[in-house]
Amino acid sequence: MRPYNLLPPEALNGKGWLVRQDNPVWIPIEATGRYKHRSLVNASFDEGGTLLANLKASDGDYSALAKRHDLKDADEVEDFVRDALLADLNEVLFESCTVDNEEEVNELLKTEAVFSVPAYAQVAGDYIYFNPTPIGRVHENPLRLPERTFPVDLTYPRQLMYTTQFKIPEGYAVHEKPKNLRYKLPVDGGHYQRVIEVEGDILSIQTQFVVKRTVFPPKQYKYLRQFYDTIVATEAEQVVLKRVSESDGEEQGGIDL
C-alpha cells in the first residue's frame, strides 16, 4: 500500500546503519513524505438544523497510507468514510459515497461523499448556532501530561487543509463569527491558521494545520501542548446566524418549501 520510496512509519526511528564494506556509518532516516490531507466541503442547512454536505477529500503520503489500511479493514466504504473522515459528527446519513485510487498507491486517495447530519446546527428562536468545523476538528488535546521527560515524536511532518463553504439559509445573516487566527510553533515548527470570510450568502472557512518538525524536546513540550490547546479552543467556536428582521429585506421568512 506504500508508494515507491515512502518509508513505512515503523522505520522512522531517526537513524539507520548503512551496511557496506567500506566505512559503514549511521545515517539519518527521515520521513520521505508528509501526512497530507486536503478537503473541500460545500454545506447548507435545512430549517431543522440538519447539515447537508458534499465532501471532496484527497489524501497523500502517510495520510493515504493510513487510510488505505483503514479502507481495507472496513466492511463498507461508508464505514470507512464515517470513521476516517467524519468521525467528529454525531450521526452521518449517506446519500452517496465513493473512494478512488484505492489500489493506485502513487496517486492521491480520493473520497467523495454526499451526506447529512441531523441536528448539526442548533436552531433557537431567531438564532442558528453551528460549529463551522464539521470535519477535521481537533476535539481534544492529545498531550495530556502536564510535563514530559522524553521528546514527543510526531513521526512525520503534517499538512492538513480544510475548506468549507456554508450557504447561509435565506432570511438569515451572519450575526457573529469566530475571529481569524494564525498561531505559530517556535523555531519554524509549524503553524495553524484559520480564516473565516463572508461573501454574499456564503460563509467560507479555511483551516491549515502544518507541522514541519517531528521531534519536540521536553523543553518545547509546553509550546506544543499550548498549540493544541489553542486549536481545540479555536475549533470549538461557533457561528451565530440571526433571522433578518422585516425591515432588513423584502424576502422575510425566506425558507420557501
Binding site: 481534544e140 488535546n141 493544541y228 490547546d229 461557533q238
Partner: protein, 646 residues
C-alpha cells in the same frame, strides 16, 4: 440428497479416521483431495472459509481412559479466512498425551503442497509458511498459503489418561459454514454415555457391536453463522453436542456425574481432611473474631485477613486441577489457586464455627450459561458461599482488592454448583440490579468571563461500576493512577489540579473519586457569546449500526446500571441565557434517559442527567428501539447553553 444418505448409513461401519476416505465410508464421489471445485457453492456465499470436514472420534476404553482423534479440513477462500487455518491442541503429558499431530496444505486443485509432522520444524519459504510452537501445554499450527483459495488439513490424537470431561463438539467452530461433520463416541456397552444437543434437533445414530457401543452425530451443509453486532457468543448460537460420562476416574479418584448431587459429592470427597489449620492459625482466627458477635462481621474480618495474607497463583497439575492444597499449605506459604484459597477460607470460617460451601462456577463476563439439565464438568472456577441467617454471602477468594461479598460480572447471575455434605446442588448466584451499580456524579463548575472554568467533581461508584473504576486504580501506584485518570477524563483540554484517591484502597462496594480541574476554554467564545456544553463528563456518542431484520438478542450493556449527573454552573457576572436545551426524555423496555437544564433562582444553571439501564440483554425486536435510544442520548449529551454577555 441420495448421496448424503448413502454416506451416512455406511459412515457408521468403518470408524477409522485416518486412511483413505473410502475406508471411512464416504460416498463414492467424495473428493478426498478437497479440490475447491468439489465444494458446495452455496456454502461459499459470504464466507471467508469453509469447513470441508470435521471429524471427532472419542474412543473410551474405561472410565479413566480414552483416545480423542480429530481431523479438520478447511478451505480458506480469501485473506479474511486465513485465521481458519490456525489450529491449537492442548496437552500436558500427564492427563493428556499428544500421540500424533499432522498438518498439510493443499492448493485449489487439491494437490498437497506442504506437509507438517509433529516434530517437524522445517525451514519454509517466507511467503507461504507455518509455525509450530510448543509451551508444553499447547501446540499451535498456523497453516498459511499465499494463493487463495487453498485447503488446510489438521489432524491429531490425544490419549487421555484420567478423564473428567468428554468432548463438546462444535462443528461450526467460530460460526464457519460446514460441508460435512461427524462426531462419534464409542465406549464399552456397560458404560453409560450421556449427551445433550444444543441448537438443533439432532438424534444420534446408535450402534452396538459386541461389547462396544457407538453414538454418532452427523451434520452436513451448515451455512455460516452471521454474527450480528452485540449478539451472544458464537458458542451459544451454533450446534453443539455435549457428551459426558456417568462414571469417571482421574488419577485414582473415581466419581459419578449422572446427577449434580453425585458430581458435588465427588468434589467434596477430594477436599476431605484438607481443612485442618495449624494451632497458630487457629489462634489467629480466634483473636480476629474475638469480641465480634455478628456472624457477618466475623466473615468480613476473616475475608479481609485472607485478602491481606494470600495471593492467587494458579497451580493445577493432574488431579491438582480438582483437588485443593490443604489449608495448612496455604497458611504457611500464603498462596494458592481458586480451589486452595476457597478451601482455606472455608477452613478459617470453620474455625470460627461458621459453615460455608465451595461453589463451582463458570467464570467470565457473558460466559455461556451452564446447562442446568446436563450434569457435567462445565465449570472453571470456584468461589465460596456462606449462608447466614439473613442472606448468603458470596466470597471471591482470589482477588485481594475485591469488596467484601461482591461477585461482579465475573461470577454474578449464573448457575453455581454448591458443594454441601449432601453432595452438589445447583443454585444461582445473585444478579445485581441497576440501583446497585451506580455512578453518581456531582460537580460544580465556576465559569469565568473569559470562558475558562474550574470544576470540582465528586463521583461515587457502587457495585459493578465501582469494580470497573476501582479495579483499574487499585493495581496502579500514585503516578500511574494520575496518568490513568488523565487518559480517562473526556474533556478537550484540561489541567488536573487535584485528585483524591484516598478511597481507592478501601475495598468497599461504594467509593468516591474526587478531583478538581482547570478548564482553559470550557465555554467556547465567539464575540459576545459563550457556548457552554452542559454534560461535563461522560458524554455518550456511540450510535449502533443499522441491522436489517435483526434475529439475535442484543447484549450491549455489560450489566444493569444507573448513572446520574448533577452539574451546577456558576455563571460570570453580566451574562444572560440566550438559548437552553429542551428537556429530553426517552423510555424503552430496557432503560430510560432524561436530561434537562434548569436556570435556578440564584442564577446558577443546573444540569440533571439520568441514564438507567434495567436490562443488560434484550430481544432482537428491540434493536431498532435501542438504536433510537442511543441516537437520542448521543444527541442530547452534546447539548449546549448559549450565553450572551450584556
Amino acid at each position: 440428497m441420495k448421496r448424503f444418505s448413502i454416506f451416512w448409513m455406511t459412515g457408521l461401519i468403518a470408524l477409522v479416521l485416518t486412511g483413505s476416505a473410502a475406508a471411512q465410508g464416504f460416498p463414492p464421489d467424495f473428493d478426498e483431495t478437497f479440490a475447491v471445485s468439489s465444494l458446495n457453492p452455496l456454502l461459499m456465499l459470504k464466507a471467508d472459509a469453509v469447513v470441508r470436514l470435521d471429524l471427532l472420534h472419542f474412543e473410551v476404553s474405561n472410565p479413566g481412559r480414552a483416545v480423542r482423534k480429530v481431523r479438520r479440513v478447511v478451505t480458506v477462500l480469501n485473506a479474511d479466512g486465513r485465521e481458519a487455518g490456525e489450529f491449537l491442541v492442548q496437552y500436558d503429558d500427564r492427563l493428556r498425551h499428544l500421540k500424533k499431530l499432522r498438518g498439510l496444505i493443499r492448493n485449489a486443485q487439491g494437490k498437497v503442497i506442504r506437509k507438517l509432522k509433529k516434530d517437524d520444524i522445517g525451514d519454509y519459504s517466507a511467503i507461504s509458511g507455518y509455525s509450530l510452537y510448543d509451551d508444553n501445554r499447547v501446540r499451535v499450527a498456523q497453516l498459511y498459503h499465499d494463493t487463495y483459495p487453498y485447503t488446510v488439513e489438521f489432524e491429531y490424537e490425544i490419549l487421555h489418561d484420567g478423564l473428567i470431561s468428554w468432548p463438546t463438539w462444535y462443528p461450526q467452530y467460530k460460526g464457519l459454514p460446514v460441508e460435512y461433520g461427524r462426531y462419534v463416541v464409542e465406549a464399552p456397552s456397560n458404560l453409560e454415555m450421556r449427551y445433550h444437543v444444543h441448537g438443533a434437533e439432532l438424534e444420534p445414530d446408535v450402534f452396538t457391536r459386541g461389547k462396544r457401543k457407538t453414538l454418532s452425530w452427523n451434520v452436513s451443509a451448515l451455512s455460516a453463522l452471521d454474527l450480528e453486532p452485540f449478539s451472544p457468543s458464537w458458542e451459544e448460537q451454533v450446534i453443539a453436542v455435549y457428551t459426558a460420562p456417568a462414571a469417571f476416574e482421574i488419577e485414582g479418584a473415581r466419581g459419578k456425574m449422572d446427577s449434580w448431587q453425585a458430581f458435588g459429592r465427588w468434589y467434596r470427597a477430594l477436599s476431605v481432611g484438607r481443612t485442618e489449620l495449624p494451632p497458630e492459625a487457629r489462634r489467629e482466627v480466634q483473636q480476629l473474631v474475638a469480641g465480634l458477635t455478628d456472624p457477618r462481621e466475623k466473615v468480613r474480618r476473616l475475608y479481609e485477613y485472607l485478602q491481606q495474607k494470600t495471593r492467587y497463583v494458579n497451580i493445577s497439575l493432574g488431579l491438582g486441577g480438582w483437588q485443593p492444597f490443604d489449608a495448612t499449605y496455604v497458611y504457611e506459604r500464603g498462596y494458592g489457586d481458586c480451589k486452595a484459597l476457597t478451601n482455606y477460607m472455608l477452613a478459617l470460617l470453620e474455625e470460627a464455627d461458621i459453615p460455608s460451601f465451595p461453589a463451582l462456577i463458570r467464570s467470565g463476563g457473558r460466559a455461556p450459561e451452564v446447562l442446568p439439565n446436563f450434569p457435567s464438568n462445565q465449570f472453571d472456577h470456584v468461589i465460596l458461599s456462606v449462608p447466614l441467617a439473613a442472606d448468603t454471602v458470596w466470597l471471591e477468594c482470589t482477588n485481594q482488592a475485591k469488596a467484601f461479598g461482591h461477585l461482579g460480572t465475573f461470577t454474578e447471575d449464573r448457575y453455581a454448583l454448591l458443594v454441601t455434605p449432601e453432595g452438589g446442588e445447583l443454585v444461582r448466584t445473585p444478579r445485581s440490579r441497576a440501583h446497585e451499580n451506580q455512578q453518581t456524579r456531582r460537580a460544580h463548575v465556576d465559569l469565568a468571563s473569559s470562558g475558562s472554568a474550574t470544576a470540582t467533581v465528586h463521583t461515587r461508584y457502587t457495585g459493578n461500576q465501582q469494580d470497573d473504576v476501582r479495579q483499574n486504580l487499585v493495581l496502579r501506584s500514585g503516578q500511574e493512577r494520575k496518568e490513568w485518570l488523565l487518559e480517562n477524563i473526556d474533556i478537550g483540554s484540561f489541567e488536573l489540579v487535584n485528585v483524591d484517591f484516598s478511597e481507592v484502597d478501601a475495598k468497599r462496594l461504594s467509593f468516591e473519586l474526587s478531583f478538581q480541574l482547570k478548564l482553559p476554554s470550557y465555554a467556547a467564545r465567539t464575540g459576545k457569546r459563550f457556548f457552554l456544553p452542559v454534560n461535563l463528563l461522560g458524554r455518550w456518542s456511540y450510535i449502533p449500526p443499522k441491522v436489517e431484520e435483526r434475529t439475535q438478542p442484543v447484549a450491549f450493556f455489560p450489566y444493569a446500571f444507573v448513572d446520574t449527573d448533577t452539574i451546577r454552573y456558576t455563571l460570570p457576572e453580566g451574562v444572560t441565557v440566550e438559548a437552553m436545551p429542551e428537556l429530553v426524555e426517552a423510555e424503552t423496555s430496557f432503560g430510560r434517559y432524561r436530561a434537562e437544564v434548569v436556570l435556578e433562582a440564584d442564577g446558577t444553571l443546573a444540569y440533571h442527567r439520568l441514564l438507567e439501564i434495567t436490562k443488560a440483554t434484550f430481544p432482537a425486536e428491540e434493536y431498532d428501539a435501542f438504536r433510537d435510544f442511543m441516537r437520542q442520548i448521543s444527541q442530547a449529551d452534546r447539548a449546549q447553553v448559549v450565553l450572551v454577555k450584556q
